[in-house]
Amino acid sequence: MSSRATLEFIVSYLVDQPDEVRIEEAEDGDTIIYDLIVHPDDIGKVIGRNGRTARAIRTVVKAAAAREDRNALVEIVD
């Protein structure tokens, strides 16, 4: 699934502890919901100032999902 690969790739570049990244996946019709879990010290890095990084992640993951005629949501679990 390229939307999942896209999320994994981006997050691996942003966090200090890539080994602590977990992605849980649920489906709701055409929508894939990704729960993103990172080390507590890395949460700020995937959210960014004013949530800007989180917004960018969601936009790009959605673009990847759209290629598969899917919608994708990314929830950052804290």
Binding site: S2, A5, T6, E8, F9, I10, Y13, L14, G44, K45, G48, R49, R52, T53, R55, A56, I57, T59, V60, A63, A64, A66, R67
Partner: protein
């Protein structure tokens, strides 16, 4: 009311804010481990290529990627058939990828290096279109008192504000929340 739009070029990676700029850091360390600014920038060019190539790969998209240094800033270009997907509606996907690229590169370099991304010359084409639209709407505002532009990215709103600032008798400000934020132009009377 403000005519100042947040500068979309402003890097915004809080984890590097505490770091001195590369130029200063290069002066620090001892002679053996010292990294020159030039070396930091060259490494950042490689990081930019790696990030975009890896992202295209993850998204399962084809594209040619080029990155070059110009005035201590990194300019990354993607070309190929995937441009529509990479640009997205109103260029929002392009903006998002640029944000992530910048964050990733600055984090790696621990320096606020300027990084811009373009896909198939989209920014230049879009810049011209947005600036024309800004001029038309400024004229309308002069006649009718107010004119509203469609929702735009921060980069595009900045282009509009810059055009309006050169036209006498009108002011501009942004209204609404992202991603619906848009520019309003008003006559000064």
């Amino acid at each position: 009311m403000s005519t100042n739009e947040m500068d979309p070029q402003t890097p915004e990676v809080e984890d590097v804010l505490s770091q001195p700029p590369a130029r200063e850091r290069a002066r620090d360390g001892d002679s053996e481990t010292e990294l020159s600014l030039q070396q930091v920038l060259e490494d950042a060019v490689e990081d930019s290529l790696d990030f975009i190539e890896g992202l295209l790969d993850a998204m399962d998209l084809d594209g040619e990627v080029a990155a070059e240094l110009r005035d201590d800033a990194i300019e990354v270009q993607i070309s190929g058939e995937s441009s529509g997907i990479l640009i997205g509606r109103h260029g929002r996907t392009l903006e998002a990828i640029q944000d992530l690229l910048r964050t990733a590169v600055q984090r790696q370099a621990q320096s606020r290096i300027r990084v811009t991304l373009d896909v198939e010359g989209y920014r230049d084409r879009r810049k011209e279109a947005v600036e024309n639209q800004a001029r038309e709407m400024a004229e309308r505002a002069l006649k009718e008192g107010e004119a509203e532009l469609p929702e735009m990215s921060a980069f595009e709103r900045k282009l509009v504000h810059d055009v309006v600032a050169t036209i006498e008798g009108v002011v501009s400000f942004s209204e609404g929340e992202e991603p619906r934020r848009r520019v309003i132009i008003q006559s000064e009377e």
